[in-house]
């Protein structure tokens, strides 16, 4: 199965491990993620004011790129891209006038957008098209004994009409992690905001929030966090440096993209997991569980 893939900015830089592990895992599961030609920034945040149409140009232009590929679906990995593209799509599907205006703004595009593209997250493909049962059958190294805490954050789930699972009690990451053999830890902060872009000018706020989230998971016995957003990833992983400076008793915990663990469990070459890009090095943990160095 071939499907158009929208990477977004951070998947090409700081979250290269996310992209590499996702492409390799998808390929192993029979899905070819074909990167869109000439994709542009999705805008990262959806414009919430009713008259701010100009900021809907970027996401809709990406959907035009999908249409040009004669595909009717596009898959994202980053939660923020997922939210922005899916929500802009919903806006124009429900508001013909805005869609017409956007098409007029993009008068130099060869094709006009008509709301026909479906925006999906890779987790949805894994659940609904590959199925977690099938993934379980393909697992070569079950992540037994690895206690992982799923972290959904905001934009995979909210608002409910955009989210890919129940906004208050999601299970998709838990079900996924169980299919690759991990022991899933329940904790109350799975859907709590990590303070997002405040990481640029208000690091203290992120440190407080990330500390609450990570400590809650650690207290419930988690040995690692699993997520799907490069911004949450930065706040929960890289900001552990600042967390340790503020909270001297904080021990630290590795943070994975869900695709890193998928690639590992499928027995793929460890290089595609890109563990060296993780801020908190997870390799010691994985080695202690006999999950690496076996292939």
């Amino acid at each position: 199965m071939k499907i158009s893939y929208f990477p977004g900015c951070t998947l090409k830089t700081m979250a290269k491990d996310f992209e590499d592990s996702a492409l390799a895992s998808a390929s192993c599961l029979g899905i070819e993620l074909v990167e869109l030609p000439r994709w542009n920034c999705c805008g990262t945040v959806y414009s919430l004011t009713s008259d701010d149409l100009i900021h809907q140009v970027a996401p809709i232009r990406n959907l035009i790129r999908v249409k040009e590929q004669e595909d009717n679906r596009v898959v994202t990995l980053c939660s923020m891209c997922y939210h922005t593209l899916k929500r802009a799509n919903k806006l124009v599907r429900e508001d013909r006038e805005k869609l017409d205006k956007l098409n007029n703004l993009m008068y130099r595009e060869d094709v006009k957008y008509d709301g026909e593209i479906e925006v999906l997250h890779l987790l949805e493909i894994l659940k609904n098209e590959v199925s977690f049962n099938q993934i379980a059958k393909k697992v070569k190294i079950p992540l037994k004994e690895l206690k992982v805490a799923p972290y959904y954050g905001c934009l995979l789930l909210r608002p409910p009409e955009i989210g890919l699972d129940d906004a208050e009690n999601p299970t998709i990451l838990k079900d996924f992690l169980e299919s690759i053999g991990a022991e899933v830890i329940d904790y109350p902060y799975q859907t709590e905001c990590c303070a997002s872009y405040h990481t640029v000018v208000n690091v203290d706020l992120v440190v407080e929030r990330a500390h609450d989230i990570l400590s809650s998971a650690i207290n419930q016995g988690a040995e690692a966090i699993v997520l799907s957003c490069p911004l949450c990833g930065f706040n929960l992983d890289n900001r552990q440096k600042e967390i340790k400076e503020k909270f001297s008793d904080f021990k630290g915990i590795p943070v994975f993209y869900f695709t890193q663990l998928l690639a590992l469990s499928l027995g793929l070459d460890e290089k595609v997991c890109g563990f060296e890009l993780n801020f908190v090095d997870p390799r010691h943990l994985l080695k202690s569980k006999h999950l690496t160095g076996r292939v």
Binding site: S196, Y197, T199, V200
Partner: protein, 135 residues
């Protein structure tokens, strides 16, 4: 919190502006406080989310636009998900930020961000931060 209310303010154009930009009905809120109860950022705010809506209802433009709250809200949509009246508070917060930013005044100027931060944070953080904080 002590606020002087005046009938003059409730008839101000401010309320209409917020309704127009957000697309939300401000008077739909009946002050149950669910948004404030679930807000993960409330400890950082000077005015709680439900109080912000009440102040908008009362036309207290200055107090709302000068609050720290509207900038602390990071659009996590927890309140939107839980509001029993279906009020999209994230859209109202955005409209309040926009009313400020459209005066061409940055909340965070791109030039004020230190170089070491620029090279440290991912693009996704920089773009979203400037989208929310700069004019």
């Amino acid at each position: 919190m002590r606020t002087e209310i005046s009938i003059k303010n409730t008839k101000s154009k401010f309320l209409g502006k917020v309704e127009e930009l957000s697309g939300e009905s401000i008077y739909a809120c009946y002050q149950c406080g669910k948004c404030s109860a679930g807000c993960p950022s409330i400890s950082e705010m000077d005015i709680s989310p439900s109080e912000i809506i009440r102040l908008v209802q009362l036309g207290e433009e200055k107090e709302v636009l000068n609050s720290k709250t509207i900038w602390i809200c990071a659009s996590c949509f927890t309140c939107v998900t839980r509001c029993p009246k279906g009020v999209d508070l994230a859209k109202i917060m955005e409209s309040l930020r926009q009313i400020n930013l459209r005066k061409n005044v940055d909340y965070v100027s791109p030039l004020s961000i230190p170089k070491e931060i620029l090279s440290q944070v991912p693009q996704i953080a920089l773009v979203s931060s400037l989208r929310k904080f700069s004019a």
